[in-house]
C-alpha cells in the first residue's frame, strides 16, 4: 500500500509528466497526444515507484525491463526517462527532429534507457516474452513489463505472444493494456471489437487484473499482485481515458496523432496547473 504522501507525490509527478508531453508535442508539432496522456499514470507508477532501474547505469543487467509495445506513446516514455535522469530534459525539445536521439518511435540504439525498438504494433509483446525467457535463463531477478494499446491487441501477433507467455509460464512478465477505448479510426469496439479483453487473457491462461488506469493506488496494488503471481504471466487491463488530464482532449479519437497548437497548449497547461 502506498501512503497518502506517496500517492500525492506520484500524482504530482504524473501531472508534471503530462506537461512535459504536451510541451514536447507542441514543439515537435508531430506525434501522438491522446495515447501518451492515457498511459502516463501507469508509466509514472512503473518508473517512479515500481521498477528496479538505475538511470546512471542504463545497461545494468539486473534492471527491470520496460517494453513500450504501443510505441507511438514514445513522448510519455521520453518524459519518464528524462524525468528519471537518463538524459537532460532539454533534449525533449528535439523530439522527431533530424539527428535527435528521440525518434518518432522508441529506438534502443539511440535513447538511453530504451530497452527495445518498438513502433510496429504487436511486436513489442513478443520481444517482452523473449526478454522474460532470457531473464529466467540467466537467473536474473528482473521483471519484464510491457504496455500495449487496446487497438494494438487487434494484431494477431499479440495473441501468438500471449499464448507463448502462458505456455512457458513466464511469471516474470506483466503486460498492461492501456484500454482507452479509442484508436485512430474511431472507437475500438466500432473499428474491430476484440473485447472483452479480460476473459480472453484468462482463456489464454494468464493471471488477469482490471483496474482504473488513472488510480495510482490501484495501479500500484495491481503491480503488487502481478509480482506475487510467479507461475503465470499477468495482464493488467487498465481502464483509461484517451487524452486524460486535459478535458478538451479527453475521449477524442481525433487527438490520436495530433499535437496541441499554441492555443491548446496554453489552455492545457493552465488546466494542469490548476489541478
Amino acid at each position: 500500500m502506498l501512503t497518502d504522501q506517496q500517492i500525492r507525490e506520484l500524482e504530482d509527478t504524473a501531472r508534471h509528466l503530462r506537461v512535459e508531453v504536451l510541451k514536447m508535442l507542441h514543439t515537435s508539432q508531430s506525434g501522438h497526444t491522446g495515447g501518451s496522456l492515457s498511459a502516463i499514470d501507469v508509466m509514472t507508477v512503473l518508473y517512479y515507484q515500481r521498477m528496479r532501474h538505475d538511470p546512471s547505469n542504463p545497461a545494468w543487467e539486473d534492471r527491470d525491463r520496460f517494453v513500450l509495445s504501443k510505441g507511438h506513446a514514445a513522448p510519455a516514455l521520453y518524459a519518464c526517462l528524462a524525468g528519471c535522469g537518463y538524459f537532460p530534459k532539454e533534449d525533449l525539445k528535439t523530439l522527431r527532429r533530424l539527428g535527435s536521439h528521440l525518434q518518432g518511435h522508441p529506438d534502443m540504439n539511440k535513447t538511453p534507457g530504451v530497452d527495445v525498438c518498438t513502433g510496429s504494433l504487436g511486436q513489442g509483446i513478443s520481444q517482452a516474452v523473449g526478454l522474460a525467457m532470457a531473464t529466467r535463463l540467466a537467473a536474473r531477478p528482473s521483471r519484464v513489463y510491457t504496455l500495449l494499446g487496446d487497438g494494438e491487441v487487434q494484431e494477431g501477433q499479440v495473441w501468438e505472444a500471449t499464448m507463448s507467455a502462458a505456455h512457458y509460464g513466464l511469471g516474470n512478465l506483466c503486460a498492461i493494456i492501456d484500454q482507452n477505448g479509442l484508436q485512430i479510426d474511431g472507437a475500438t469496439e466500432d473499428v474491430m471489437n476484440v473485447g472483452p479483453l479480460g476473459p480472453k487473457f484468462l482463456a489464454f491462461n494468464w493471471h488477469v487484473l482490471e483496474v482504473d488506469g488513472h488510480d495510482i493506488q490501484a495501479i500500484s496494488r495491481a503491480l503488487d499482485e502481478a509480482e506475487a503471481e510467479t507461475e503465470r504471466p499477468t495482464a493488467i487491463i487498465a481502464r483509461t481515458v484517451k487524452g486524460k488530464g486535459v478535458s478538451f482532449f479527453e475521449h477524442k479519437a481525433s487527438y490520436h496523432g495530433v499535437p496541441p497548437n499554441d492555443d491548446e497548449l496554453e489552455r492545457a497547461l493552465a488546466a494542469l496547473a490548476m489541478r
Binding site: 543487467e61 525491463r65 517494453v67 529506438d107 534502443m108 540504439n109 530497452d115 527495445v116 525498438c117 513502433g119 510496429s120 504487436g122 511486436q123 509483446i125 513478443s126 520481444q127 517482452a128 516474452v129 523473449g130 526478454l131 522474460a132 525467457m133 532470457a134 531473464t135 535463463l137 540467466a138 494477431g156 501477433q157 501468438e160 505472444a161 499464448m163 507463448s164 505456455h167 512457458y168
Partner: protein, 312 residues
Amino acid sequence: MSEKIATRDVYGQTLVELGRENSKVVVLDADLSGSTKTKLFSKEFPERFFNAGIAEANMTGMAAGLAAGGMIPFASTFAVFAAGRAFEQIRQSVAYPGMNVKIVATHGGITVGEDGGSHQSVEDLAIMRSLPKMTVLCPADGPETGAAIRAAAAYKGPVYVRLGRGKVPVVFDQGCDFTIGKGVTLRDGSDLTFITTGLMTAEALLAADILAEENISARVVHLGTIKPIDIDLVLKAARETGAIVTAEEHSVIGGLGGAVCETLAEGYPVPVERVGLRDEFGQSGTAEELLVHYGLTAAHLVEAAERTLARK
C-alpha cells in the same frame, strides 16, 4: 565430389556443438524442428529450446527479445515462412535494431521438391538482401554450412542463413574456413567465370569440367555470402575473364545474379548470363526433375557460358 550431405543435418549437429561451447546459444523453431534439425539441440538442451508452435511472427519477436536479454538465438523454419511470413518482424524487431539474431532457414529453393511451389522459396535471398544491417549467407555444402553457422554465431548482429532440404555434393573440405563477406575461388580460369552460390556451385564445377574438354577455361567463384558481396573478387573475375555466368537456386531477380550485376554495372561492366528461376514460382516434382525443368544443371551452365562468351 561423390559424397552427399544435407546442409540442414550439419546445421543441427553444429547447433549442438555450439550449445555445448556457449550457454548463451538458444534455439527457436516453429513446429518444424524435425525438418530443420533443431530437434537435435532440443534433446540435449531442452531448457534452451523454445518451440513457438506454428507462429513464425512471434518466434521472430521472441528471438529478438532473447537477444536483447543477452542470448544468441538461432530461429529456424522453412525459408518461405522465415523470410516471407515473418518479414516485418525481421525488419522491425531484428534488422532495424541490429539484434544479434540468427535466422537459419532450411528448405530454400525448388529442391524442396514434392511439396510444390507454395513451399519453395525463390525470393528469400532478395528479400533479406534488401534489409539494411542484414548479413545473408548461402553455403554450398555440408562442410561449409558448419563453418558458416559458426561464423554466424561469432558475428554480432542479424544474419540470415539459407539452407536446403536434400543431400548435396560435398565441395569443401571438412574443417574449411568461412569468412563472412569473402568468396572463394574454387577453380581458376581465364575465359569466363561462374559466380555461384548454394548447391549451384557443385554444378558449376561440373560445368567447368565439361567446358575444359572444349578448351574453354572457366573460373569458379563461390559466394557463400550474398551480402555483403565480395566486390573485389567479383570485379577481379570480370577484369581477368571478361564474361560472367551467375547461378543460384532462386529467382534471377534480386538475389546473387542481381547482386553481381549491380556490382559489375558500377565497377566493371562485362557480359553476364544469370541462371536461376526466370521470375516464376516452382511446382511439385522430385528435386532432380525440378533442377532439370528450371534449367539449373551443369548442362544449362555450359549453355549459359557459351552465350556469354559469344557476347564478349
